[in-house]
């Protein structure tokens, strides 16, 4: 037996059928636990306390990470003799080999690990990443899954975290701010309109009364721009809420006799072709 063989013998345990069965069992148990956490926790939160789902769902990726790290550690302790020297040798060698082969994939995995701790998004959050806006439904090892308001599933790699801005509308809470815009002819009583639009939000059945309602306004060249800022009880009702406040606001404005703004469009005359 030469030196290299002796080194390998020092590093690795002898692997037989029993060890192989143990590793297979670890893989199966880890997979089962991961699946249970991934599917079971959201399912249970929906059934038992919908109002608290935003507090519970962020634990999904953390639990999955704990399960994966635990499974990996147990598997390594079966395959390798767990001394410091052996661990450094094997992890260093494998890191170089795997790093070259799966660089992009590993970038995503590392970003996923960072995302678990930095929490730029969590299951249940409403986020915008690039052109996509929707509710995060799943955090995988390599990427996240979101569902847009038009019921389209979007898969986004975690590696986007390195170079893309992530806009999170609710950041783990149940409520998110909605902004409803009204464009009004400038010749009106602004205090009355502001009060009417405030009541439009205040009377919506979707509104979260524990959080503030704000109406801000400013003048534009073509009229007055109002923005009603308020929170629905549940982030998933944001579009129903916006629609409802819009309907109520328009009714209130009509009752006040306030006309909508008509933007003055200046159309440039096309230059004559040569």
């Amino acid at each position: 037996m030469d030196d290299a063989e002796q080194t390998l013998v020092r590093i690795f345990n002898e692997l037989g059928w029993r060890e192989a069965a143990e590793i297979a069992a670890i893989v199966i148990v880890a997979w089962a636990l991961t699946t249970a956490v991934q599917r079971g926790l959201p399912w249970l939160t929906e059934r038992f306390h919908r109002a608290k789902r935003h507090r519970i769902l962020p634990f999904v990726p953390v639990l999955k990470m704990v399960i994966l790290v635990g499974a990996l550690a147990i598997t390594l302790s079966i395959v390798i003799r767990p001394t410091v020297e052996n661990m450094v040798t094997i992890l260093g060698a494998s890191a170089i080999a795997i790093g070259f082969a799966f660089r992009d994939y590993l970038s995503g995995v590392v970003a996923g690990v960072v995302a678990v701790f930095e929490r730029p998004h969590r299951p249940g959050d409403w986020v915008r990443i690039g052109d996509a806006y929707g509710e995060v439904t799943k955090e995988g090892l390599r990427g996240l899954e979101m569902v847009t308001p038009d019921d389209t599933r979007v898969l986004i790699p975690h590696s986007k975290l390195w170079d893309t801005a992530i806009y999170n509308a609710n950041a783990g809470s149940r409520e998110l701010m909605c902004v409803v815009r009204f464009f009004v002819d400038p010749r009106h009583d602004a205090a009355a309109v502001r009060s009417a639009l405030y009541d439009a939000a205040l009377t919506s059945p979707y509104v979260q009364l524990e959080l503030p309602i704000t109406v801000v306004l400013w003048e534009e060249p073509w009229g007055t721009h109002y923005r009603v800022k308020a929170y629905p009880v549940d982030a998933r009702q944001q579009f129903q809420f916006i629609s409802d406040v819009t309907v109520r606001g328009k009714a209130a404005l009509a009752a006040l006799g306030v006309a909508p703004a008509v933007p003055s469009v200046s159309v440039a005359t096309a230059e004559p072709l040569p």
Binding site: R47, R50, L209
Partner: protein
């Protein structure tokens, strides 16, 4: 509300067996309101049975997908004996308690002031105030019709100060607004007027509307501290149900034959019996010489949150269900013939009682519809599309479905959550994170 619930009983403590009994009806400041609690064992058992397993099985989901709210089926048979046990409501007892609370009001020497009484749905707040107004000859001003509220209900406000300077009673403040962009003006003007009232005014308000006013308009900040009818705990529930029933009736639990309510004589000594924490399968601690009484009323009072209207409705429902049950002949033989010519009425154990139950995760339309009914103290059908963001046809479908399941019913032209379904609906509102009352 009971047949023999006279002013003396409701207003003053009585002596029985040397032990002072609290008055059956008490009007107390809101911060002294105390809900009765149920036995912990029953809470866990019911939580498991009706909550955990039902949700785990996904029964709610299946029913919701089918478009049907989850309601336990129960026959609705109004046996004549039920009418003897539960006569029509009589609010004179609570009204007498309110009169006592208002003994020094209005003070003719002082400036006009406002008194506010708040109570939960079916809690009899409005009836109590009307009774007091009738007894004292005060003027009652009913709320304007809901369709007049968005237009400002011109002239209605003047009714409050028209006529003599005598006290005015406004029994249903919850009917003076609509959750509509134009529906808050009237209540705001009312608030401005009562910041410096011209005449003494007694105002009644539903607890849900009061909660909405507090969050949305800040009304309780200028209104005086509210008063409320104290919740009925299990002892008061026992006394009240026993007093309202025909004295010739005895109420027995169908599985063991034990009494559910103490007989009239024992009711007098109820305070000396000592109520331990029993369950509906067993007995409460009791005097060895008196007949054993089950803990049925403890569960009933806790389920109804001490609300007399809910207690009465659920009790009636329990009796209707009991009237359809077969009684075991061996038990009848054991109990023998009633000695004093009384009639026996049978009830199922509390945990087997079928009551209307709203599905734990109802469609959004149903939950907002029910919440709107609660915060408005009921609404007429034609006003529903005004306050809800749903087309009238969908609302009509939701309304018929909930009506078929006994979740809502028409009370004098206004759709309201039924008294029997109210505890279940309130639980669902809490679970969905919607605004709740304090009762």
């Amino acid at each position: 509300m009971g047949k023999r619930n006279d002013a003396g009983d409701s207003a003053a403590a009585t002596e029985s067996g040397g032990q002072p009994q609290p008055p059956l009806w008490e009007v107390v400041p809101l911060d002294r309101f105390a809900r009765p609690s149920g036995p912990a064992g029953e809470t866990v058992r019911k939580g498991l049975r009706r909550g955990f397993w039902q949700r785990l099985r996904g029964a709610d989901e299946a029913r919701a997908a089918a478009g049907v709210a989850s309601v336990e089926e129960a026959p609705a048979i109004a046996a004549p004996v039920v009418d003897r046990a539960v006569p029509p409501p009589d609010w004179s007892g609570p009204a007498t308690a309110l009169e006592l609370a208002l003994a020094d009001w209005p003070d003719p020497e002082a400036a006009a002031s406002v008194r506010l009484v708040v109570g939960p749905p079916h809690g009899g707040t409005g009836e109590m105030l009307r009774h007091v107004a009738w007894a004292r000859g005060w003027r009652v001003v009913e709320a304007p019709p809901p369709e007049a509220i968005p237009a400002g209900a011109a002239g209605w406000l003047d009714q409050l100060t028209d006529g003599d300077a005598g006290p005015v009673v406004l029994p249903a403040l919850e009917h003076c607004y609509l959750r509509h962009p134009l529906g808050l003006g009237l209540i705001r003007r009312l608030a401005d007027r009562y910041a410096a009232p011209a005449v003494p005014t007694l105002i009644g308000c539903d607890s849900w509307a009061f909660a909405y006013f507090g969050k949305a308009l800040g009304l309780p900040r200028w209104l005086p501290s509210p008063w409320t009818l104290q919740a009925l705990d299990h002892e008061r529930t026992e006394r009240w149900l026993a007093e309202m029933a025909d004295p010739a009736l005895r109420f027995h639990q169908i599985d063991r034959g034990d009494l559910v309510l103490p007989p009239p004589l024992a009711a007098v000594t109820a305070a000396s019996r000592g109520h331990g924490e029993g369950d509906d399968e067993g007995h409460e601690d009791g005097d060895q010489e008196s007949e054993p009484v089950t803990g049925f009323c403890r569960f009933l009072a806790a389920y109804a949150r001490g609300n007399p209207g809910v207690i009465r409705a659920v009790w009636r429902r329990c009796l209707e269900v009991g009237a359809t049950q077969e009684v075991d002949q061996a038990m009848l033989d054991r109990l023998g013939t009633p000695a004093d010519g009384t009639d026996r009425v049978w009830l199922s154990p509390w945990h087997k009682m079928p009551l209307p139950t709203l599905t734990a995760d109802p469609p959004d339309l149903d939950q907002y519809f029910l919440h709107s009914l609660l915060v408005h103290g009921g609404l007429p059908e034609d006003i529903l599309p005004t306050v809800l963001p749903t087309p009238g046809t969908d609302l009509g479908r939701s309304l018929r479905r909930l009506m078929a399941d006994n979740i809502v019913a028409d009370y004098d032209g206004r759709w309201q959550v039924t008294a029997t379904a109210y505890p279940s609906v309130r639980k669902v509102m809490a679970r969905q994170g919607l605004l709740l009352d304090a009762f």
